[in-house]
């Protein structure tokens, strides 16, 4: 039987993943993304300004995110802020990454490798 193999999607960097994840919920500006990321990662990933805008620049170049035209009420926020939103391609990339992570977690669970599970040692 002929088998075909499709290349596995390259894993996203943690910064890209969390930015896409943050924008998948709603449009946000840079500082909002930063805070959301910190929250989503339970404080494990704290994006600095350089990493944040460096990653945003690359995601814009990949067309995974785009600048949002709609701005909030000027009375509520600074008009000079730039808001970003995820694109269809970005959402697809995020889905692929989530699937990859899901497979990895499923596999780890199957082998009882997740923390909190008891390891069945094969050693006598």
């Amino acid at each position: 039987m002929k088998t075909t193999t499709s290349p596995l999607p390259s894993p996203l960097t943690p910064a890209s993943f969390y930015i896409l994840l943050a924008l998948a919920m709603h449009e946000q500006h840079g500082y909002g993304i930063m805070k959301q990321t910190e929250l989503d990662s339970s404080g494990a990933l704290r994006l600095g300004p350089g990493t944040l805008y460096g990653t945003i620049k690359r995601l814009l170049e990949q067309a995974w995110i785009e600048e949002a035209d709609e701005r909030p009420d000027p009375a509520l926020d600074d008009q000079r802020r730039r808001y970003y939103r995820i694109t269809a391609a970005g959402r697809q990339a995020l889905n692929l990454e989530l699937e990859r992570l899901d497979r990895a977690v499923t596999l780890a669970r199957k082998h009882h490798l997740l923390p909190g599970h008891k390891f069945e040692s094969t050693l006598a």
Partner: protein, 308 residues
């Protein structure tokens, strides 16, 4: 929102200076956003415990610096990738094309405007030599002996060099008529026609340095060498009296000439030789140095022979 510059703290000012390390293209797009983000962090950090605030701001600084380095690295990678792409013919041969174009333009300009035929001021000596050349042509047409013509040429050369402005009666004329000269047809004893169609005479005894005694005694002029076409030599024998009229020394002066592309003869070198072993180094050196200098100038001055 970025704070007004007056109200900035030292840290905020420092951060703005740090952003300058980013590549220009990145800075153009994200500088204000980076600054705004830092200001937001700084503002929110005011309500945090000092240690947490310090940690957060230190992280912002180091992360920004790392980001700048990362962007420069990315830029280098992109440039490297661009360089591996095949370049256009213009990009590969830009320098050669510019040089070639420049040469072509200058060449065309020189052809069209006669750029190199500089007809600037010609000094006295060059005029005399130019006159000498014209006298050659005149003598040739009049079937005048070359000896006489060449003698005048050399005499003018020496006179012009050593008398310069002192001799108002010489001017640009080709003067000299020594009875010792021999001419092919013997028709011009003592007199010779100068370039202006006038006759002049001069006492045969004069010295270019001391005005005492000097006269060409014989001149041999080879119009064009048989064995080296395009080259000619003129040999003139002089009496020269560096120590007074009773102590004459014979010198031989040889002017080597070369036919230029446009047909003119140009002096390419002069040799001065004492024939009787009583050399007078200052005279020899002066003549040789001057003549060679002039020869050099003439080789590099196309106006030579134009007779301005």
């Amino acid at each position: 929102m970025p704070a007004p510059i007056q109200s900035l703290t030292r840290l905020q000012r420092l951060y703005r200076q740090l952003v300058v390390f980013y590549p220009t293209a990145f800075r153009r797009q994200y500088e204000s956003l980076l600054v705004q983000l830092f200001d937001d962090m700084y503002r929110d950090g005011q309500s945090s415990p000092p240690s947490q605030r310090r940690r957060a701001l230190a992280h912002a600084f180091t992360d920004t610096l790392q980001g700048a380095l990362r962007e420069h690295y990315q830029q280098l990678i992109r440039k490297g990738a661009m360089n591996t792409q095949p370049q256009s013919f213009w990009a590969r041969h830009r320098l050669a094309l510019i040089i070639t174009g420049g040469v072509i333009v200058i060449g065309l300009a020189s052809l069209l405007t006669n750029l190199w035929d500089y007809n600037g001021p010609v000094n006295r000596l060059e005029r005399v030599i130019a006159d000498g050349q014209r006298i050659e042509q005149l003598a040739d047409s009049n079937n005048t002996g070359w000896d006489n013509v060449a003698a005048n040429f050399v005499a003018d050369y020496i006179q012009a060099k050593y008398y310069g402005n002192k001799r108002t009666d010489v001017g640009y004329r080709s003067i000299h008529a020594a009875q010792t000269h021999t001419t092919k047809d013997g028709t011009m004893p003592g007199l010779e026609q100068n370039t202006h169609g006038q006759y002049s005479s001069m006492a045969p005894n004069f010295d270019p340095l001391t005005c005492s005694t000097q006269a060409p005694i014989s001149v041999r002029y080879i119009r064009e060498s048989d064995f080296a076409p395009g080259f000619a030599s003129m040999i003139a024998d002089f009496r020269y009296a560096p120590n007074g009229p009773d102590n004459l020394v014979r010198y031989q002066l040889m002017l080597n000439q070369e036919r230029s592309r446009n047909g003119d003869w140009q002096i390419i070198g002069v040799d001065c030789l004492s024939l009787e072993g009583q050399d007078h180094p200052p005279f020899t050196q002066a003549v040789e140095a001057t003549a060679n200098e002039q020869a050099y100038d003439h080789r590099n001055d196309r106006s030579f022979g134009t007779g301005n």
